[in-house]
Each structure stands twice: as structure tokens, then as C-alpha cells.
């Protein structure tokens, strides 16, 4: 019997439809959580590798469940899902499309990871002003910090460069 299986590109596009549970405007591939999708000829299975954003990210188990569900939905029975820590996740892996979506959603996208948070000065996603200030280093999730805009006076979340 000749086994047929989907291409890795197809799998990437399926995974791109899985929304992050905490920032649903982004997919798990937008965020750089999926690191690798490859066919393992020896084990005769797909290997899907994911990495946590923050060490304590409570969403990782839910994300893994979603990936398993998605693979089964597409009749892929032979796959192995593994978690890897290194190289550690960075916001630099976030796609430009993802940053654009964040901005539209009302979350300021991250600056380059080497820029320290004091210097990062995100632009207000509401009015576009760069006259903003840090209120708290932690927002509603570990990946965000809380800012206020001095122009429109609105508070907003900013994705931290990490």
C-alpha cells in the first residue's frame, strides 16, 4: 500500500488557522509557537515542534490539544508533538502580518527584542501618538505591559519585546 500524506506546507496552513487562546487575533504560527513541521521517514510520522512563549504560559497545553485535534480532523494519524525550549522564544519571530494585526486589535506590537522596555516607547494603537508612558511592566498576560497614551489618555496593552 502506498501511504499518502499531506505536504508540510498544507500542515503549516492548517496550523495557521489555530488562534492563540489569549490573543485570538493571532495564530499560533504568527506568534512563532510552532517551530517545525517535518516528515520523519524513519519513524513514518510527522514531527511537530512547539515552544512556549513564556515559561509559565498556561495556554501551552490548550495549544497542544488544539494541534492534536486539528491533525486528527485532517485525518493525520501519524504525528508526534514535542515541546522544545531552545532556542528560547523571541518576539522577533513574529511575522509582520502579525504585528499589523496586533496594532489593529488595539495592542501595540513589540519592538526588536534587544530594545529595552524603557526605550521601546510603543505607539498608541488608538490614536497613533508616540507620547506614551509605561504604567506597569505586566499587563493582562505575561507577554504584555501596560501603557497609557498622553495624547488621547487611553490605557493600552503593548506586546513586550522579548
Amino acid at each position: 500500500m502506498v501511504a499518502t500524506h499531506p505536504t508540510t506546507n498544507e500542515i503549516w496552513s492548517w496550523l495557521d488557522e489555530i488562534a492563540d487562546p489569549e490573543i485570538p487575533v493571532l495564530s499560533i504560527t504568527d506568534l512563532g509557537i510552532v517551530r517545525e513541521v517535518e516528515w520523519d521517514d524513519i519513524a513514518n510520522e510527522f514531527r511537530v515542534v512547539i515552544t512556549p512563549t513564556y515559561s509559565g504560559c498556561p495556554a501551552l497545553d490548550a495549544i497542544a490539544d488544539e494541534i492534536r485535534r486539528c491533525m486528527r480532523e485532517h485525518n493525520v494519524e501519524r504525528f508526534r508533538l514535542t515541546t522544545q525550549l531552545a532556542p528560547p522564544w523571541t518576539t522577533d519571530w513574529m511575522s509582520d502580518r502579525a504585528k499589523q494585526r496586533l496594532q489593529e486589535y488595539g495592542i501595540a506590537p513589540p519592538a526588536h527584542s534587544l530594545i529595552q522596555i524603557e526605550a521601546a516607547h510603543p505607539v498608541c494603537p488608538q490614536c497613533g501618538s508616540s507620547d506614551t508612558k509605561l504604567v506597569s511592566r505586566f499587563g493582562s498576560t505575561p507577554c504584555k505591559a501596560l501603557y497609557t497614551c498622553s495624547s488621547c489618555l487611553e490605557p493600552f496593552d503593548a506586546f513586550k519585546p522579548h
Binding site: P52, Y54, S55, P58, L85, A86, R137, F138
Partner: protein, 251 residues
């Protein structure tokens, strides 16, 4: 590497994170302002993540069927290997911030060094954790300066916290047989070498915060060997209650 030594070393790494995470979680819903409530619990979450990495590895190394949960919930106080600093009660906000500042400064330098560990798994965990620890340290440093150089009241409370907790800082750099064996194998770090950069950061921050670095030389020790203050027992009673009462309970 003899299993008991590596196991012991990993427990120390994991227990420090686990116990401090539990302490910080006690603030959940009680923070002085909403932003701080959120920040403290986020730091707690990062540390819990680190604890899971270390304790999972410890369980695998021991190879006696104990996973991260069994190690966290089914050991008694005498089997915990955290330093005494992290089990100290939250006290007022000055106490919580100062405990965090002493710990974060040490934790950052420890993880920075552990990235070069000869053990790939240890190195990978350290590479992941150091990014978060860097952020924790920036935050606690900010707060020490803000509260130390704040009002008379906040300054006095910060100085008292700095003095009271000072006796628990010596243990961070205390080196015993386990540490020496780990260092010799290339897996661990030289804890004594972490002391100068730790002290430098504390001195610099306290100077900016108008706080005095406590002169005390006498240090408490014992946590690393399982000899704890009575406070740990109360912490564990709360943390472990559910798994003790309903063994193996799951969400």
C-alpha cells in the same frame, strides 16, 4: 554524574522557584494596586514554569516514578531544598519587594552562568529562564529605588526589610559538597563567584534608593539541606492540601 547529586542539585533549582512562586501567589487578589497584583502573579507564573522544568528533569533523573507534581505536592518540609530566603513570609510590600530583589539579582546571575552548563537540558532551561529573570530583576530594581527613595514611611519600611532579610542572603552563595561536585563536572556554577556581581548590583541600587547596605555578617543557613524555618510548613499545608486530601486529583 551520580544520580543523587544531580537530583539534589535540580531539586534546589526547582524548589527555589516553586516556593517563591507560591509565596507570590498569596498576593493574588490582595495586591496594593491592581497593576501590582497582576505583576506579582505574572512573576509567580514565570517562576512556576521554571519550577516545572527543573522538577520534571529531577523526576526523570531520579527515575522512581515521581513527576513534577509528585515532587511538588507529596514531599514534606524536610525534603525541600530551597534557600530560606524564598520561604520568608510576604510581610508588607517592602518585604515582598526586597525579598524579590535579593532573589532576582542572584537568580539572574545564576541563570546567566548556567547557560554554559555542560548538561544540554540544564543549559536550555537556563537560556529560557534567564530572559524572564532579566525582566524580573529590572522590575524589582525599579521598585527598590522607587520605595527606598520615596516617602519617609516607604523609606523606613524598605530599610527595615533590607535589614531583616539580610541574614538570609548568605545562603545564596554557600557552597557545599553537591555544589562542588556539580562545578567540577562542568554542570553547575561557582556560587561564590556570583557574590561580587550580586553585591555590586545591591550596592548600586541601594545607593540610588538612599538605602544602607546592611553590615551584618552573621547568616542563617540550612534550607539547602532541608533544615527550614517553621514558616515553610504552613506554606506547604496550603499548597499541598488538595493533593494530600484527594490523592491524584485532576482538573
Amino acid at each position: 554524574m551520580p544520580v543523587p547529586v544531580l537530583f539534589e542539585y535540580l531539586l534546589r533549582l526547582g524548589d527555589n522557584c516553586l516556593i517563591l512562586s507560591q509565596r507570590l501567589s498569596e498576593w493574588c487578589g490582595h495586591g496594593p494596586v491592581l497593576e501590582e497584583d497582576i505583576a506579582l502573579t505574572n512573576v509567580a507564573l514565570d517562576l512556576l514554569g521554571h519550577a516545572r522544568f527543573w522538577l520534571s528533569y529531577a523526576g526523570e533523573v531520579e527515575d522512581e516514578g515521581r513527576d513534577e507534581d509528585k515532587l511538588a505536592f507529596l514531599r514534606d518540609a524536610g525534603e525541600f531544598r530551597n534557600v530560606l530566603l524564598v520561604e520568608q513570609p510576604n510581610g508588607d510590600y517592602a518585604m515582598t519587594i526586597t525579598r524579590q530583589f535579593y532573589f532576582d539579582t542572584w537568580h539572574f546571575h545564576l541563570l546567566k552562568e548556567l547557560q554554559a552548563s555542560s548538561d544540554l537540558r540544564v543549559s536550555e532551561i537556563a537560556q529560557k529562564a534567564v530572559k524572564e529573570a532579566t525582566y524580573h530583576l529590572e522590575r524589582s530594581t525599579d521598585w527598590v529605588i522607587r520605595l527606598g527613595d520615596g516617602t519617609d514611611e516607604s523609606h523606613a519600611r524598605m530599610q527595615r526589610a533590607a535589614d531583616d532579610l539580610w541574614q538570609y542572603t548568605g545562603e545564596l552563595f554557600e557552597t557545599d559538597e553537591v555544589d562542588r561536585e556539580m562545578l567540577a563536572s562542568g554542570l553547575g556554577v561557582d556560587l561564590e563567584k556570583l557574590q561580587p556581581p550580586w553585591m555590586e548590583h545591591v550596592q548600586k541600587t541601594f545607593a540610588e534608593a538612599t538605602l544602607t547596605v546592611p553590615p551584618g555578617k552573621w547568616m542563617q543557613r540550612g534550607g539547602k539541606r532541608g533544615i527550614h524555618t517553621e514558616r515553610l510548613g504552613y506554606l506547604l499545608a496550603e499548597m499541598q492540601f488538595l493533593q494530600r486530601a484527594y490523592l491524584g486529583a485532576q482538573w
